[in-house]
């Protein structure tokens, strides 16, 4: 069944030939006149400054709150379908959802006790 791979091989060869061919053609055909401005990121205007160093642009607290929000917010994705079909799922659905919520509360307890919810 190795013949199955022949098209992939052909494609790989064509792709490689195209990539190498384009570069080689560019070098052979194109004119090359040296000019220092060509090496710069922009050919006019002021030099682009490096990525700004210095103090944090945002306090880390914002990230922390954002992360906690995402984790606890996304759980609703399971609760809404469950609530819609609650009548059909019956006791089994209730037990499973209680287990799920208890699991989420374990994480909540950790965040609360470790001060993740305090702003200062």
């Amino acid at each position: 069944m190795l013949s199955n791979y022949v098209p992939i091989l052909v494609l790989a060869v064509i792709a490689a030939a195209f990539a190498i061919g384009s570069v080689v053609a560019g070098v052979l055909v194109g004119p090359s006149r040296y000019n220092r401005a060509k090496v710069d990121p922009y050919e006019c205007g002021i030099e682009a400054p490096a990525e700004p160093a210095g103090p944090h642009r945002f306090p880390v607290k914002f990230y922390l709150i954002a992360m906690l929000f995402i984790v606890f917010d996304i759980e609703t994705i399971f609760m809404v379908p469950w609530a819609v079909t609650f009548g059909s799922l019956g006791v089994f659905g209730l037990i499973e959802m209680v287990l799920f919520v208890a699991t989420v509360f374990v994480a909540y307890a950790y965040v609360w006790r470790r001060g993740g919810l305090e702003w200062d």
Partner: protein, 99 residues
């Protein structure tokens, strides 16, 4: 509209994400490209769910969203730590382990 158009769109998004991971230098942007790949997979799942008339694909998409959220939290925490250390999120600066 022909649903297979969405499959093509998803494939394009996935490719953009994959190329982005390989060429971008900022860890946050690299990570956003990974998220784009995950969402492309989600779009594929939902489209196939529609084509085949089963709800499996949509249920899987829900699970993927939750997993992606957990991944975001862990990833941001790690990137944030290294950013606080180096004041830069460029993956090119992460080079101590290279010989």
């Amino acid at each position: 509209m022909n649903p297979s158009n969405y499959l093509v769109l998803a494939a394009i998004l996935f490719s953009i994400g994959a190329v982005g991971v390989l060429v971008r230098r900022n860890a946050i942007v690299v990570f956003m490209c990974v998220e784009l790949m995950l969402n492309a997979a989600n779009l594929t799942l939902v489209t196939f769910s529609r084509i085949q008339g089963t709800l499996d694909g949509q249920v899987i998409a829900f699970f993927v969203m939750v997993v992606a959220a957990a991944e975001v939290v862990v990833g941001l925490a790690i990137i944030l730590t290294i950013f606080r250390t180096r004041r830069s999120a460029s993956v090119d600066d992460v080079n101590l382990l290279k010989y």
